[in-house]
Symmetry: C2
Amino acid sequence: MKKRTEVSEAVIRRLPKYYKCIEKLINEDKEKASSKELSKEMGMTSSQIRQDLNNFGCFGVQGYGYNLGLLFKEIENILGLDKGYRCIIIGAGNLGSALLNSKEFKKHKFDFLAIFDNNKEKIGKSVGTFKVKDIKNLKEYINAEKVDIAVLAVPDNAVMKNYLELLNSNITGIWNFTQTKIESKGNIKVETVHLVENIMTLAYKMNAVNKNIVEGE
Amino acid sequence: MKKRTEVSEAVIRRLPKYYKCIEKLINEDKEKASSKELSKEMGMTSSQIRQDLNNFGCFGVQGYGYNLGLLFKEIENILGLDKGYRCIIIGAGNLGSALLNSKEFKKHKFDFLAIFDNNKEKIGKSVGTFKVKDIKNLKEYINAEKVDIAVLAVPDNAVMKNYLELLNSNITGIWNFTQTKIESKGNIKVETVHLVENIMTLAYKMNAVNKNIVEGE
């Protein structure tokens, strides 16, 4: 596979949007789309779309457009969604339970296999069809079950202990819902969900109306 | 106030990061910072930082840097965080409960005032220190309590009914946790939390390691 370099964070963040948009078009039995058609769906300019997709070696054919099947396969491959990911959740509170019970992740091949907690009152209790497992067995479970991703849905005072344990396991991805800053290290990649920043972006948009700050594209 | 125009989505999305970064520096008793210092904190280049902040009329002084107090006030003002936001949650499931119980939002002046549901088994029950209110009283409550933001944490089949009701209320912001696509309309601005897209970004990073795709900045 050829080496792809210097893909900007902004483009990376748009890839899942392309994936979902193209999946939708394929589900509507469409086989091809021009950058103009994609631009309508994505809410971006055609030239931005051509530029983005060129980054990944996906070239449209003049007068034909993009072959959606090929494009989907390529983006699926770039995101590694063809093989799927085995995930566990650490923290059996409301957030962990909400994630475990959501059907959206499984649809896109993120399989949630188990949920862990250190609270004796929670261990053994049911969350949907799962029983909460003892955090003591975390590392053993990860290695035996070949888990790829651990979701951190614990209080902030518990993050570092769990993080250090994950560093010693075979995990390769951490999805961090805590306020604690964790950075990718070695083979372990980290993605943090910044909910506070997200509601601040909403605040910006609401506030921009009053102040004539124009919303971005 | 001067009219600010054409601020890109990428810059808008970075504003909350600037806000939190500058807040942190101020809490460490720092009064000023160069774009180079900010660059270390933000994990971005100095020139990108100067460019971003110029968008909002925040100019650093050569040889002095940025006055953090002024910069913080300006960004706080742009985000409307100086006055704060009154919020309610629709949907008293695990996700709604997790958001209601989090302390992070209040810290940044997003005040969660109430939680609503249409499920008779949930209405009147406690979620932390709150009692779940009947969705029937939603509009009345919003208008009486001058609510700014409604958080949609309901199943997808319930979204449109709630959305239409919100359109008829005095709400000005919707924070959407559902999979249903809702767009800003008139005075109502919408921000959607795309959790599936977020975990796909993690997948990209994990997958990029194996394929020599270089991570963006």
